[in-house]
């Protein structure tokens, strides 16, 4: 469960059984692609993020012609931070019940306006002890290629493991079993997993 010290980063503005979209409280403070986030008891993995204007149909205009730096653009137009918003979509990969992590879809989707937290390293490590979520990732209906998504997730998760090489090999083997009839796809993911 969330501890009171965890910092909320976003709020759910769209939710379904398989994914939820959250708006970040701060512009551009989107969790990295593939990171594990949590809202309520539901775990999701960041699959897609975008930043756009508040009003649909009204395009942002270029403002930096007379500014020296990009930062100066925002400083001279402080309203921008209120007119623009960053959102991300997370694929639901599991939920927590009775302090136990289940890597399958939750019985109910997330609530709107529930807070979204970035999972701390210990929780990521605990979650990634099992690889059942990989199959969910491979089949998630998201706007980016599933190979990119899986590779980004595993790269993110590998940072919290003491031996990231062993973690990636174990995950790779799980993927090899899942994709045993589609080697091209497997190779595609494996090539994106190299961290060095």
């Amino acid at each position: 469960m969330n501890k009171p010290t965890d910092k909320k980063i976003a709020e759910v503005i769209e939710a379904s059984t398989t994914q939820f979209t959250a708006q970040c409280y701060e512009l551009y403070e989107v969790p990295p692609l593939g990171s594990l986030v949590k809202t309520g008891d539901i775990y999701g993995i960041v699959a897609y993020a975008e930043t756009e204007g508040m009003e649909p149909g009204r395009k942002p205009v270029a403002r930096g012609k007379d500014e020296a730096t990009e930062k100066a653009v925002y400083e001279s137009s402080p309203q921008l931070k209120k007119l623009l918003r960053s959102e991300f979509t997370a694929a639901v990969v599991g939920y927590c019940k009775d302090n136990k992590i289940h890597q399958y879809l939750p019985p109910q989707p997330a609530h709107l306006h529930s807070f979204v937290y970035l999972c701390p390293p210990e929780e990521v490590e605990e979650f990634s002890k099992s690889f059942s979520f990989l199959n969910t990732l491979l089949n998630a209906a998201i706007p980016i290629p599933a190979e990119e998504f899986v590779a980004a997730t595993l790269r993110q998760m590998s940072h919290v493991h003491d031996n990231s090489h062993d973690f990636l090999v174990a995950a790779g083997k799980e993927l090899a079993n899942l994709l045993n009839s589609n080697i091209a796809r497997l190779k595609n993911i494996l090539e994106k997993l190299k961290i060095k």
Binding site: L175, N180, S181, L190
Partner: protein, 536 residues
């Protein structure tokens, strides 16, 4: 260290068991002939690796191989998309219940279920199957790539005729020496060895090494060396016990018959020998060789023999007559002498010295064996009549080399060895045949051999001949054809519960001699361990 190799993925009683190897097990460590156990749900299976293969989950991997220069990708794919497979031929089972365990290993009649765990056989497994070294079992070597002692029950072994096969230079002679020592130590049987190349008695040669000790040097009180060629024995500084001479009067037409092809005789010439014996009596051969021209003509008329046949026969008999150990009349009875030694429990090695031509070997081995066998037959019948086990003669094992010359289909019916091989142990005589061309041996004789031990053979017909009638023949063929050219052998048949490829124990170093002459004595390393135990 766990010895888990993988899991059963497919099986058929007829075709064997397919095992998918676990990722950490390298396919390169798997060699045919190795011995594995399969932990079935209700019983354990023992089997032998008979094939090793590579597998892929997706054929496109073989078409466009991944970048294996990247160790990460190689590591991920190893054991998942690409994996090793072994093919195991199950040979024995042990049931799980108490009764089955006391019963011991049984021949395989079923197969393990899916995904049973396959392990490398441990020392304990091998011991359970082949037994420990004890008063009947003799340590003959180590199963391939294992430290375990492979033991052969020699009391069982000598109950049948046996064969040792292998190409020239594969270690048949070393293997035979080891087995002879085993028979000498662990069974009641005595050996009579027709030692064509003088390899067993006193000293043997060792390719690329110092000469090795023969039986007499290791067991002086149990082994007697007889020789046909006293001079050669003296030159080689061999202490011989007896010089064998063969009297011309001892040679019968039957002996001539088996030399037919060796002496290049015609069928009619052989027929003539029988005829002459009828006319001239026991000393026929001596007489034929010393006949004058007139006597010859006279003889041709009375015996109704064609002249050309007689000439052919005379030419052949001349070859026999010229052999140095053949005398017109032998002073003492060589057969009686050999039998006396054998009855005292002493093993007899008959050295041929310089008489290494096949004619001499065939003649002597056949002649002596026939007469020894008939004495055995007589004694055995007397013992049966008197219903006394004590009167039965000691079991005898006759060792012959170049066995295909005695047991080829043409002469197998005529030589005594054919009879011995077929009649087995009825008269307490069995054979140990050593040969490099098993395909030349009569099929019927081959099928009667109890235990066969074979070193590398690479002729298709020889392999077929050796493996004829063995279950799992094709799998064993793969094992046999891949034995190392030296010091590896495959044993199967009566005396072993299942076929096993092994490396014969060492023979030739001082330590090995000590092991043979005083087996089971604690070695120096063991003593400190025992002392340590006292303090525990």
């Amino acid at each position: 260290m766990t010895d888990k190799l993988g899991i059963v993925t497919n099986a058929s009683l007829e075709k064997g068991v397919d095992v998918r190897l676990d990722a950490p097990v390298s396919v390169e460590d798997m060699v045919v002939g190795r011995y594995v156990t399969i932990e079935g749900q209700k019983r354990r299976f023992f089997g032998m690796i008979t094939d090793v293969r590579l597998g892929v989950t997706d054929d496109s991997l073989t078409v466009s191989p991944p970048d294996i220069s990247d160790p990460f990708i190689a590591e991920v794919l190893n054991g998942t998309s690409t994996f090793g497979q072994i093919h195991v031929t199950p040979m024995l089972t042990i049931g799980g219940d108490a009764a089955a365990i006391t019963e011991g290993p049984q021949p395989v009649k079923t197969i393990p279920t899916h995904f049973c765990v396959v392990n490398l056989a441990s020392e304990g497994d091998i011991e359970r199957v082949f037994g420990k070294e004890d008063k009947e079992r003799f340590f003959i070597g180590n199963p391939l790539d294992m430290e375990t002692k492979l033991c052969l029950n020699l009391e069982e072994f000598v109950k049948r005729s046996n064969g040792i096969f292998g190409k020239s230079g594969t270690g048949k002679t070393f293997l035979t020496r080891i087995l002879l020592i085993g028979i000498l130590q662990k069974s009641k049987a005595v050996n009579l060895i027709f030692d064509m190349h003088s390899e067993y008695g006193w000293k043997g040669t060792h390719e690329g090494g110092a000469p090795v000790k023969g039986l007499k040097q290791l067991f002086p009180s149990n082994v007697a060396v007889f020789t046909l060629d006293e001079e050669s024995s003296k030159r080689r500084k061999v202490a011989t016990d007896y010089v064998v001479k063969i009297g011309l009067n001892e040679i019968t037409p039957e002996d001539v018959a088996i030399l037919r092809s060796t002496l290049n005789l015609t069928d009619l010439a052989v027929e003539a020998a029988y005829q002459l014996r009828k006319v001239l009596g026991k000393d026929w051969l001596n007489k034929v060789l010393n006949l004058s021209e007139e006597e010859l003509e006279e003889l041709l008329k009375t015996a109704n023999i064609h002249e050309s046949s007689l000439q052919s026969l005379k030419r052949g008999l001349g070859t026999i007559g010229r052999l140095g150990f053949v005398v017109p009349e032998a002073k003492d009875d060589a057969v009686k002498n050999i039998l006396d030694y054998l009855q005292q429990g002493r093993n007899v090695v008959l050295e041929f010295g310089r008489y290494q031509e096949i004619a001499a070997y065939l003649l002597v081995a056949n002649l002596l064996s026939r007469r020894i066998y008939s004495r055995y037959q007589q004694k055995m019948e007397e013992a049966i009549a008197a219903d006394s086990d004590a009167m039965k003669p000691r079991p005898l094992v006759i060792t012959i080399e170049e066995a295909h010359k005695f047991l080829n289909p043409e002469v197998a019916d005529k030589t005594i060895f054919g009879t011995i091989a077929r009649e087995m142990r009825k008269y307490n005589v069995s054979l140990l045949v050593i040969d490099q061309r098993p395909s030349g041996i009569n099929e019927e004789v081959m099928s009667q051999l109890g235990t066969k031990i074979t070193c590398l053979l690479d002729n298709e017909r020889d392999i077929d001949a050796v493996l004829a009638g063995v279950s799992g023949k094709n799998e064993l063929k793969a094992v046999l054809a891949r034995l190392a050219p030296k010091q590896q052998a495959l044993i199967f048949g009566h005396a072993v519960p299942m076929p096993v490829a092994f490396q014969p124990r060492e023979y030739g170093s001082a330590a090995s001699y000590k092991d043979f002459t005083s087996p089971g004595k604690p070695t120096d390393e063991k003593a400190p361990k025992d002392i340590e135990k006292l303090w525990e």
